[in-house]
C-alpha cells in the first residue's frame, strides 16, 4: 500500500466508517418542531415546517391535462398582508385552474383562498364571504397595495386571462373593482408591483407580461421528448403601466415609453436605483435582456439596463430571469439586485456602484450554490438577526431533468422537482446552509413563490412557499438569534403606508438600509414593513433615518428594541 498523508488518510477512513451511519449526515439535533426559536440550536431546525399546525391547507391546482402547456408550471402566487387591520399578517393564495376545466375556451380557476391570522401564526380559512370571487383566468400572482389611500391593503391578482383588482372594504371583505377602476389588463400577467411612479402620493401599478402563448404549440427537448415550451416559443410582449388617477387606473404604457419594448417579463421590483429621487422599475425577463426603467423628470421612463450593466450577465448573455430582489446584499450601501435563473445559469448578483451595476456573482459564492437549480421565488431576509441579509430560494425546473432521489412527486412533475435553497449572507458572500434547515432544503418539489414575514409575532421572519400542484408550505423561523430586531412601519400622516421610503438603521457605526415595499420575488407579495436584525453589540439604542418618497429626510430615536416601530412622516427630526 502506498503511504498516505495522515490527515487526509484519517478523513477518508472516517468517511468510510461513517458511510453507514444513517441519516443525512447532519449532527443530531433536538428535533425540528420543538419549542420556540429562543435558544434553539437544532442544526436542522432553523426553518421548521409548521404547515399543518398553521391551519393553512391551500393546495395549488395547475389545471394540467397532459398536454404540457407552459401556464401549468408558472403560477404560485401568494401574499402576506394585514387584510383586516388587526396588526398581524394574513395570507392569500392564488390558484391556477381547476383540473377538469382547462380545455379550450374554458379557463376557470379554482378559488383563490384567504386565511386570517390570530396573531400567533395560526390561521383560519376566511375565503367564504371575503369577496375574492373565482376569476375566469388561470391565476398567476398577486401584489398588495392601498390603491385608494384608506389605510387598508387592496389586492391585484394577475392571470393568464384578465387581471383582477379587489378593494379591501375592511374586516377581511373585498370587492371586485376591476371594472370600476378601469383596469383592463389581459394576456399573460405574472408579477406586479404597486409604486408611486409620479410622486403624487397614490400608488401606480406596473404589471409584467410574459409571452403571447400559442396553446397549440408542441415543444420537444434535445432528445425529442415532449416538454413544456420555452419562453422563446411565444412572441414577446410589452409590460403594462397603469397610472392611478384617483379612483381609476389609466393605461399609460405608451405615454411613459414602456410599450415600445417587448420581452418576457416575470419579476419586477421598484426602487430609486439611480438615486435621483424618482422611482425606477427593474424587470427580470425570461430569456431576454432585463429592463431597468429609469424614471425621468417628464414622467416617462427610459430603459438603461444595458448601459447600467443589468441587462445581461457578465458574459454578455441574457439569462432566464424569474424572481428578483433589490436590497443592499453586499454591504456597500447601494441597492443591489439579485435574480433567480434557470439551471445551467447562476442566480446573478448585480452589485450597485453609484447607479451602475457590476455582475459580482463570482465573488458572492452563488455560482457553486445555484448553478444546478432553476430558481423562481426569492426572499432576502435576516434569518438569524445578525444584520446581514440571507436568501431563501424556491427552486423547480421548467424542463425535464433527472429525478431527485428524495422526490416523492409523481410524473410528470417528478422530473421538475428540486430542493429549495437557504443561503446565509455575510459581507456579500452567500453560503449554502442546507444542513441547518433540512425541512426547507430537503424535499424536492416544484416550488415557485416565497413570501417572507413575521407570522407569529415573535420578531423574526417566517416563510411561506408555494408549489405547482401541491400544498403551500409554512416555515417557522427557529434560527438561533444573534441580536434583537425591529419591524419598521413607515406611514404617511394620513395613515397610508409610505411605499418607497428608504429606512436606515444607524447602529454602532453600521448602516442597515431597507426599502418599504411589498413587491419583489416571483409572483408574490411580502410584508411591506422593513425588518431589521440588530446585532452590532452596541448598548445604545439605534437611530432610524428615513428618506421619504417626498424627498424629506428625518431621523427617529425609538425607545427600545424588539418591537414594531411605527414612524410617521413629519414626526421625526428633520435632516
Amino acid at each position: 500500500m502506498k503511504p498516505a498523508s495522515g490527515i487526509l488518510f484519517e478523513s477518508v477512513l472516517v468517511a468510510l466508517l461513517c458511510a453507514g451511519c444513517g441519516g443525512d449526515g447532519q449532527t443530531p439535533g433536538t428535533g425540528t418542531g420543538a419549542g420556540s426559536n429562543t435558544g434553539s440550536s437544532a442544526s436542522d431546525g432553523w426553518l421548521v415546517e409548521v404547515t399543518a399546525a398553521s391551519g393553512i391547507d391551500f393546495v395549488h391546482h395547475s389545471g394540467r391535462q397532459g398536454n404540457l402547456v407552459l401556464t401549468e408550471i408558472m403560477g404560485g402566487g401568494a401574499a402576506l398582508f394585514d387584510c383586516d387591520g388587526d396588526g398581524d399578517l394574513d395570507a392569500f393564495f392564488v390558484d391556477g385552474a381547476s383540473d377538469s376545466a382547462r380545455s379550450e375556451g374554458d379557463r376557470s380557476s379554482t378559488p383563490n383562498r384567504l386565511f386570517r391570522n390570530d396573531g400567533s401564526g395560526v390561521f383560519t380559512d376566511a375565503t367564504e364571504g371575503a369577496g375574492l370571487a373565482v376569476p375566469d383566468g388561470i391565476g398567476m400572482g398577486v401584489c398588495v397595495g392601498d390603491v385608494d389611500g384608506d389605510g387598508l391593503d387592496d389586492l391585484y391578482v394577475t392571470q393568464f386571462g384578465r387581471d383582477r383588482l379587489y378593494h379591501n372594504s375592511g374586516g377581511g371583505r373585498f370587492e371586485d373593482v376591476t371594472d370600476a377602476y378601469g383596469v383592463d389588463v389581459a394576456g399573460w400577467s405574472c408579477s406586479a408591483a404597486f409604486f408611486d411612479a409620479d410622486a403624487d402620493g397614490d400608488l401606480d401599478l406596473f404589471v409584467t407580461q410574459y409571452i403571447d402563448l400559442d396553446l397549440e404549440l408542441e415543444c420537444r427537448d434535445g432528445a425529442g421528448r415532449r416538454t413544456w415550451c420555452p419562453p422563446l416559443s411565444g412572441a414577446p410582449v410589452a409590460d403594462v403601466f397603469l397610472r392611478n388617477t384617483g379612483g381609476r387606473f389609466v393605461d399609460e404604457s405608451e405615454r411613459v415609453g414602456i410599450a415600445a419594448v417587448r420581452a418576457a417579463g416575470l419579476g419586477v421590483v421598484c426602487d430609486d436605483f439611480d438615486g435621483d429621487g424618482r422611482a425606477d422599475v427593474f424587470v427580470a425577463n425570461d430569456g431576454y435582456e432585463n429592463h431597468l426603467w429609469i424614471g425621468r423628470e417628464d414622467g416617462t421612463f427610459r430603459d438603461e439596463a444595458v448601459a447600467r450593466g443589468v441587462a445581461f450577465n457578465h458574459l454578455g448573455a441574457p439569462e432566464a430571469g424569474m424572481g428578483v430582489v433589490a436590497e443592499d446584499l453586499t454591504g456597500g450601501g447601494g441597492i443591489d439586485l439579485l435574480l433567480t435563473h434557470l439551471q445551467e445559469e447562476t442566480n446573478t448578483l448585480y452589485r450597485a456602484r453609484g447607479g451602475i451595476f457590476v455582475d459580482d456573482t463570482g465573488r458572492s459564492g452563488l455560482f457553486e450554490t445555484t448553478m444546478a437549480y432553476t430558481g423562481f421565488g426569492i426572499a432576502a431576509f435576516d434569518i438569524e438577526l445578525d444584520g446581514d441579509l440571507d436568501l431563501a430560494i424556491a427552486n423547480g425546473r421548467v424542463r425535464a431533468g433527472i429525478v431527485a432521489p428524495q422526490c416523492e412527486l409523481a410524473a410528470p412533475l417528478d422530473v421538475l422537482a428540486e430542493p429549495n435553497l437557504l443561503l446565509i449572507g455575510a459581507g456579500g458572500r452567500f453560503a449554502d446552509a442546507a444542513g441547518r434547515a433540512t425541512a426547507f432544503t430537503g424535499p424536492a418539489e416544484v416550488s415557485r413563490g416565497v413570501c417572507a414575514g413575521d407570522l407569529d409575532g415573535d420578531g423574526d421572519v417566517d416563510l411561506v412557499v408555494t408549489q405547482i400542484d401541491g400544498p403551500a408550505r409554512v416555515y417557522r423561523n427557529d434560527a438561533p438569534r444573534a441580536g434583537g430586531w425591529w419591524i419598521v412601519d413607515a406611514r404617511e400622516p394620513d395613515g397610508r403606508r409610505a411605499i418607497g421610503a428608504r429606512v436606515t438603521v444607524l447602529e454602532g457605526g453600521a448602516r442597515l438600509a431597507r426599502t418599504v415595499r411589498a413587491a419583489d420575488g416571483y409572483v408574490t407579495s411580502r410584508d411591506a414593513r422593513a425588518h431589521f436584525g440588530l446585532a452590532s453589540g452596541s448598548t445604545q439604542t439605534p437611530e432610524l433615518e428615513v428618506l421619504w418618497p417626498t424627498g424629506e429626510r428625518e431621523q427617529f430615536t425609538p425607545a427600545g428594541r424588539d418591537r414594531v416601530v411605527t414612524l410617521v412622516r413629519g414626526e421625526g427630526r428633520e435632516l
Binding site: A305, A307, F312, G316, E368, A372
Partner: protein
C-alpha cells in the same frame, strides 16, 4: 498509538474489500436512460451507443462516443458522467478531457473540481484556445477572477484575434473595476464583429463605468438593433459534438444557425429531419419550402408547400410562398387570389408584398401595386428594391409628385440603381 490503530483498522477493511495498490475500480455501469419517449432517430443512436458500452465497458472510446451523443441531445448530466468514465479509462485523450471540463462548468461543479479538469485538459493540449476561453468563462462565473484573467490571457496568447476572448476579458475587467482596459479589449472585439450583442453590452457597461453615458447609450441602442451573437467560438471540437444531434430540436437549431450564417443549403437536410420527426406540424414544410425556393429548387419547394396546405388549408405563409411561385410562373390571377387569402389584416413579409405588387403592376393596377410596395417597405425599410418599385408604380399611375418623393427616398437608400435615372426626367416634367 492512535495511528497504529487506524492503520490496523484500514488493513482489516482492505482485506475485506480486496484493496490493492491499484486505483479504485472505475464504475462502468451504463447510465440509466429512458428511451421510451425519445424520437425514433435519437432512440436508435443512443441505444446503439448505450449497448456498446454495455458490451465494451472498458472501452474509453465507447464511453466518449456515448458522452458526445448524450451532450448533443442536451442530456448534460448523463453526458458528463459518461465522459468521466472515458477520461478515467484513458486519461491521455484530449477531446473527452476537454469536454468533461466544459460540461462540468455547465452542470455547476465546484470551482476546485473545474480547475482540476481544465488543468488536466491543458496538460494534454496547451495550444487549444477555446479550452482557455471556456476556462476563463468558468472561472469568471465562479469568482476565480485571477485565474479567469490568466485563462483569457492564455487564449489571446494563442490567438491574439480571438474575439470571444477579448469580450470575455473585457467583461471581467468591468467586474474588476478596470473599465479603461475593458474598453480596449471590447473595442478590438467590436472591430471584428460590430453587431455582437455580448460585446456591445459589455462595452456599454464599460463606457457607463467611465462616465461616457452617451457612448454607453449608443452601444446599447446598437445592441438592441441587432440579434444574437456574431462572434464565433471557433471551437471545432464542440461543433463536432453538436453536429451529432439527430433530434428534431438539435436539427432545428443547426438549421437556424446555418440560415443565420446565410448557408441555406446546409439547412436543408436538418429541416428534413425536423419534418420527418414532426409530420403533423405545417410550419416545418413551410420553413423547408422557404429555403428550397431561395435555393431555386422550386419543384421541391412547391411539394413542401402542398404538404403544409394539406395539414392546414389556411396556412397564411404557405399561401404567400405559393403565390410568389405563381407570380414567377406568370399565373397572376391565381397568385392574386392566393395573396388575398394569405393576407388577413396582419402584414405578410416583405417578399410577399413585393411579389403581390409585381403581380398587380403586371396587370397595370399601379395604384394597388404602390400600396403593396409601401407595405413591403414598412417590413424592410433598408431594402431599396421595393422603394424603387413603388416609385415606378406611382409614376405609371400618374401620381408624379408622390413618385418624385418616392424616388428621392429610394435614391437616399441606394443611389446607384438603374431606376434612379428616372428621377431627373420626372422632375423635368
Amino acid at each position: 498509538m492512535r495511528r497504529s490503530l487506524l492503520a490496523a483498522l484500514v488493513c482489516l477493511l482492505c482485506l475485506g474489500s480486496g484493496c490493492s495498490d491499484a486505483a479504485p475500480p472505475i464504475d462502468t455501469t451504463p447510465p440509466a436512460l429512458d428511451f421510451a419517449d425519445m424520437e425514433p432517430r435519437v432512440r436508435t443512436v443512443l441505444s446503439a451507443l448505450h449497448e456498446r458500452v454495455r458490451a465494451e465497458p472498458q472501452s474509453a472510446h465507447a464511453w466518449a462516443e456515448l458522452g458526445y451523443a448524450l451532450d448533443a441531445h442536451a442530456m448534460l448530466v448523463e453526458a458528463e458522467s459518461s465522459l468521466e468514465r472515458a477520461v478515467a479509462l484513458d486519461p491521455e485523450r484530449f477531446k473527452p478531457a476537454y469536454l468533461f471540463a466544459f460540461l462540468g462548468d455547465l452542470n455547476g461543479r465546484d470551482a476546485d473540481e473545474l480547475v482540476r479538469r481544465f488543468e488536466r485538459a491543458a496538460e494534454l493540449r496547451g495550444d487549444y484556445a477555446p479550452l482557455f476561453l471556456r476556462e476563463g468563462d468558468a472561472m469568471n462565473r465562479a469568482g476565480r477572477y485571477d485565474r479567469a484573467r490568466a485563462s483569457y490571457g492564455r487564449a489571446l496568447e494563442i490567438d491574439p484575434k480571438y474575439g470571444k476572448a477579448h469580450t470575455g476579458l473585457g467583461g471581467l475587467l468591468n467586474v474588476l473595476g478596470e473599465p479603461e482596459a475593458a474598453i480596449s479589449h471590447l473595442e478590438q472585439a467590436r472591430a471584428q464583429a460590430p453587431d455582437d450583442r455580448p460585446t456591445l453590452a459589455a462595452l456599454a457597461q464599460a463606457y457607463g463605468l467611465v462616465g461616457r453615458m452617451d457612448d454607453a447609450q449608443e452601444a446599447s441602442e446598437r445592441m438592441r438593433a441587432t440579434e444574437g451573437s456574431a462572434l464565433p467560438h471557433n471551437d471545432p471540437l464542440r461543433a463536432q459534438v453538436l453536429a451529432l444531434g439527430v433530434s428534431s430540436s438539435a436539427a432545428f437549431q443547426r438549421a437556424r444557425r446555418a440560415m443565420q450564417a446565410g448557408d441555406l443549403a446546409a439547412a436543408v437536410p436538418d429541416l428534413e429531419i425536423v419534418a420527418e420527426a414532426q409530420p403533423q406540424d405545417p410550419d416545418v414544410p413551410v420553413r423547408l419550402a422557404f429555403v428550397l425556393l431561395k435555393l431555386g429548387r422550386t419543384a421541391r419547394g412547391v411539394e413542401e408547400l402542398e404538404k403544409a396546405l394539406k395539414l392546414d388549408a389556411d396556412h397564411s405563409e404557405a399561401h404567400a410562398l405559393m403565390a410568389q411561385v405563381e407570380v414567377e410562373r406568370g399565373a397572376l390571377d391565381a397568385a392574386l387570389e392566393r395573396f388575398a387569402r394569405a393576407y388577413r389584416g396582419t402584414p405578410l413579409d416583405s417578399d410577399s408584398h413585393r411579389a403581390w405588387g409585381v403581380a398587380l403592376a403586371q396587370q397595370s393596377r399601379h395604384d394597388e401595386a404602390a400600396g403593396q410596395f409601401k407595405m413591403a417597405i414598412e417590413q424592410s425599410p433598408k431594402d431599396p428594391e421595393p422603394r424603387y418599385l413603388m416609385a415606378l408604380s406611382l409614376e405609371l399611375a400618374g401620381r408624379v409628385p408622390e413618385a418624385i418623393r418616392a424616388y428621392e427616398e429610394a435614391v437616399r437608400v441606394l443611389p446607384a440603381h438603374p431606376l434612379a435615372q428616372r428621377l431627373g426626367p420626372l422632375r423635368a416634367k
